[in-house]
């Protein structure tokens, strides 16, 4: 069993799998990240899929929209588990950074992901 954090991306349609493909392209492999889609799932089915992907934890769950079914499900699951944190608004920059910082305590890794993700969003001036 690994001492490193698990990361789970849960998102609409094929977004999570595509983000993981991009992480692989940049970082070489999955780095403990897994993808879950909400396609075809009601809340109970998505909860089951997400729980299976998290496994024993500890884990950071990355979701796409703050107000979507993925975020609701992740928050509901994390509520009962002290070793799971949820980060909304996932982007590639935070995932690539997370891939190389999975040894951090889960709360610190989640905070770092938020900071890195925010920093990655900007306006390219002409």
């Amino acid at each position: 069993m690994s001492d490193k954090l698990t990361g789970v991306v849960v998102a609409h349609s094929e977004l999570a799998a595509s983000l993981l493909a991009a992480v692989r392209a940049i970082a070489g492999d999955d780095h403990g990240l897994a993808a879950v889609s909400n396609t075809g799932c009601d809340r109970a089915a998505l909860l089951k899929s997400l729980d299976a992907a998290i496994g024993a934890g500890p884990a950071v769950v990355f979701t796409d929209m703050a107000g979507g079914s993925c975020a609701f499900t992740a928050a509901a699951l994390a509520r009962g588990r002290g070793d799971v944190r949820v980060v909304t608004g996932v982007n590639l920059a935070m995932l690539v950074d997370f891939a190389f910082h999975r040894e951090l305590p889960v709360a610190e890794a989640a905070r770092r992901a938020v900071e890195v993700g925010r920093t990655a969003v900007g306006l390219v001036e002409k």
Partner: protein
């Protein structure tokens, strides 16, 4: 403008509702009719976090909703009423005869259900209840997003 959508969606408040319908129709409020969510303050807070600040969210049991439908219909804003399953919407229609249109927005796969559309899976009992609702004059159609074509219940039975 009143309630412009009575929707059955087992994901309740989520992206399709808030963005897909909410932004396109200029929705000002959402009513979530679910006895379980009504009894769970933490879950209500979670759902409130997921909607834009300009959009109000109300939570109600079926009985409470039945007593408030007329009031919501007089609201100057446009609203969406949501239930998480067929039985809850049918119960609401039984208690609030003013409901004339029901939208099947998302009922996903589960034991005993058969696929009717990509986003609509129903048991025969659920389908029969919706057919009976349609026979009483309620317009029942499936439509996940405003950009897709509504499918009459008769085509899904």
């Amino acid at each position: 403008m009143s309630l412009v959508l009575y929707r059955i969606d087992d994901r309740l408040i989520h992206g399709q509702v808030v963005v897909g319908w909410g932004q396109r129709l200029g929705i000002g409020f959402i009513v979530l009719v679910d006895d379980g969510v009504k009894a769970n303050v933490w879950e209500q807070e979670l759902y409130r976090m997921g909607v834009p600040g300009a959009m109000d969210v109300a939570f109600a049991t079926v009985a409470e909703a039945a007593g408030h439908v007329a009031e919501w219909e007089r609201d100057p804003r446009k609203g969406i009423l949501l239930t998480g399953d067929v039985d809850t919407m049918v119960a609401l229609c039984d208690q609030a005869p003013g409901v004339r249109k029901v939208n099947l927005g998302g009922v996903h796969a589960k034991d005993g259900r058969r696929e009717r559309l990509r986003y609509v899976f129903l048991t025969d009992a659920e389908a029969a209840k919706l057919v009976a609702l349609a026979a009483r004059g309620v317009e029942v159609t499936a439509q996940d997003l405003p950009t897709t074509k509504p499918v009459p219940m008769a085509d899904l039975a």
